[in-house]
């Protein structure tokens, strides 16, 4: 009981509305990022996922400027950028990275302008920190239904393309010969990725959302042998890291009175811990110090 009290769980944690909103939105984001992140890492599109998350920041900044729901801003920009990247249909890894880099640069440049306008025209002083690094305890409750609907849409889309996407990941030619509509599958995945990074950007911020998208999936892929077990493990890691991060951030108000630590920091740290543990398990299993490198990390 003492331990629970120490984490503030008995001190209004569950009855606190910002906490409940953070748990709901963060949980949805963690679940979607785990599922979409897994296919993103397997398809070696970690850099594209990171770029989309950063670019979505421009949408979030625009939303503050226009005074609309920031989730719609993140979502609109991420979906637009995903559409452009998919429309270009670049297969060669080098060309794809170059295009992703160009889109990323353009998005960040736009975000810089919009954040400047947020501060100078709208006088929204905390917009930059909120957009780039997240502020889960300030998410308005009105966002919860929209966020959960976005999460549900991304999960349904991912379930729909689960098998065709796996075959495409093995080989595009193999998939085409089998009758997979490779273009449609890739487009649906790109849109699911846009939904995932938008939710992730809402919770941990545009800059750190890559951690929620890639981290749990990468950790799960170190140890899981089957797609289903990788999905379950990635979802568990994402949820534990997100909800654990919220609990720790809530508790941090008692560490430095009146000044809580950022939720994003705790979430990212917990994900890194999970990755290190998973890597340790993989090495122990392999019985050698050098386990095979993870696919999705090779792009960086």
């Amino acid at each position: 009981m003492g331990a629970i009290s120490a984490f503030g769980l008995m001190g209004g944690f569950w009855s606190n509305q910002p906490v409940r909103v953070a748990l709901a939105v963060g949980g949805g984001a963690a679940l979607v990022c785990a599922v979409v992140g897994l296919s993103t890492v397997m398809r070696r599109q970690a850099f594209a996922g990171h770029a989309l998350a950063d670019v979505s920041g421009a949408g979030g900044s625009a939303a503050y400027l226009l005074g609309i729901n920031p989730l719609f801003g993140f979502l609109g920009m991420a979906a637009g950028a995903a559409g452009v990247m998919e429309w270009a249909q670049v297969r060669d890894a080098r060309e794809r990275d170059l295009l992703t880099g160009v889109v990323l640069g353009a998005g960040l440049g736009l975000a810089a302008l919009l954040l400047y306008l947020d501060m100078t025209v709208r006088s929204v002083s905390g917009a930059a920190i909120t957009v780039l690094f997240g502020s889960m305890f300030t998410i308005p409750p009105s966002i919860v239904p929209v966020a959960l609907a976005v999460a549900a849409a991304a999960l349904v889309a991912s379930a729909l393309i689960f098998r065709p996407l796996l075959v495409s990941t093995l080989s595009v030619d193999l998939a085409r010969a089998q009758g997979v509509s490779v273009r449609t599958t890739a487009l649906i995945h790109a849109m699911a990725l846009a939904l995932a990074v938008s939710l992730s950007a809402m919770t941990v911020g545009a800059i750190l959302s890559t951690a929620l998208l890639i981290g749990p999936a990468a950790a799960a892929l170190r140890v899981a042998r089957r797609p289903a077990s990788a999905l379950v493990l990635a979802a568990l890691i994402g949820l534990v890291a997100t909800w654990g991060g919220i609990a720790l951030a809530y508790q941090s108000y008692y560490w430095t009175p009146g000044r809580g630590w950022p939720v994003s920091f705790f979430i990212v740290m917990l994900i890194i811990c999970a990755y290190l543990v998973a890597s340790g398990i993989a090495r122990l299993r392999a019985g050698a110090p050098d386990a095979p490198p993870l696919s999705g990390c090779q792009e960086h």
């Binding site: 397997m42 379930a159 729909l160 393309i161 689960f162 098998r163 065709p164 796996l166 075959v167 990941t169 093995l170 080989s171 030619d173 193999l174 998939a175 085409r176 010969a177 089998q178 009758g179 997979v180 799960a220 892929l221 899981a224 042998r225 089957r226 797609p227 077990s229 990788a230 095979p292 490198p293 993870l294 696919s295 999705g296």
Partner: protein, 268 residues
């Protein structure tokens, strides 16, 4: 004289990639259970021909007729990532219903069919291992099972023997020969070295200069036939049971070939 029903028939097929004509006029046919090698040097158009048969690239002229039903395909140079959480068993199962949208319910019939295919290609002992961690020969067996699990009438394999050691090459060739009969599938297998295949194949399609000559191996792999195909003199030498095609000097027969609109030679 071909008497059986054609599973695959190509008639005067021409394919241009960009500005470069890769295939100028290729004709041949393949019947059920025939095991056929598609032979040619690197860049002769073997992969292009297979991709044209699959419908991946447009044929400029001519016809490609395939029997209705699934086509099994093993592409060239698949690099299976060791980090993929896919067991050999999962890859074979994806061959069965990987193109379908949505999720599936577990099925005993599906599991039994996958198991039967793993057994057929001799992959049972590594069925639970991550496919990316398997050796080249083992991966070829898994990809073969993936291609065959829907029981296609036609199986296309693009350089499946590349990068395999001598032992694995002989095993895969023998396996393909057996499976061709067992599953009643016609097999068209591309390779740049015909020697490992000669004892096993029913027919050969030899590609050069964008043209093809097809027929039984001992009828196709002859000095006069291949010289006409290449457009200049080549020698077909037999050394210690191996066939070696040696290029000679280019002569006027090349120009004669280019003037001649009929490029395909079919040896009955």
């Amino acid at each position: 004289m071909n008497t059986g029903e054609a599973v695959l028939a190509l008639e005067r097929v021409a394919v241009t990639l960009g500005e470069r004509p890769v295939l100028r006029e290729v004709s041949f046919r393949l019947e059920a259970e025939q095991f056929c090698a598609l032979i040619g040097t690197n860049g002769s158009g073997k992969t292009t021909l297979l991709r044209a048969i699959l419908g991946f690239i447009r044929v400029q002229s001519g016809r490609v007729d395939r029997a209705a039903g699934a086509v099994g395909y093993v592409p060239q140079k698949i690099t299976l990532d060791p980090g993929l959480p896919l067991r050999a068993r999962d890859v074979v199962a994806l061959g069965l219903d990987g193109a379908r949208f949505g999720t599936r319910l577990p099925s005993k019939a599906r599991t039994a069919r996958v198991q039967q295919m793993l057994r057929a290609v001799g992959a049972e002992e590594f069925a639970e291992q991550r496919v990316g961690a398997l050796s080249g020969g083992q991966q070829q067996r898994v990809l073969l099972a993936h291609a065959l699990v829907r029981r296609p009438k036609l199986l296309l394999l693009d350089e499946p023997l590349a990068n395999l050691d001598v032992g694995s090459t002989a095993e895969i060739v023998a396996l393909l020969r057996r499976l061709s009969h067992e599953f009643g599938a016609a097999v068209l297998l591309s390779a740049h070295d015909m020697n490992p295949l000669l004892p096993a194949v029913d027919r050969i399609v030899y590609l050069a200069n964008g043209c093809a000559v097809s027929g039984k191996a001992d009828e196709v792999v002859r000095t006069e036939v291949l010289s006409r195909l290449y457009g200049y003199h080549v020698d077909v030498l037999r050394v210690h049971g191996r066939v070696v095609v040696v290029a000679g000097a280019r002569d006027e027969s090349r120009e004669a070939l280019e003037r001649d609109p009929v490029h395909t030679i079919t040896v009955p």
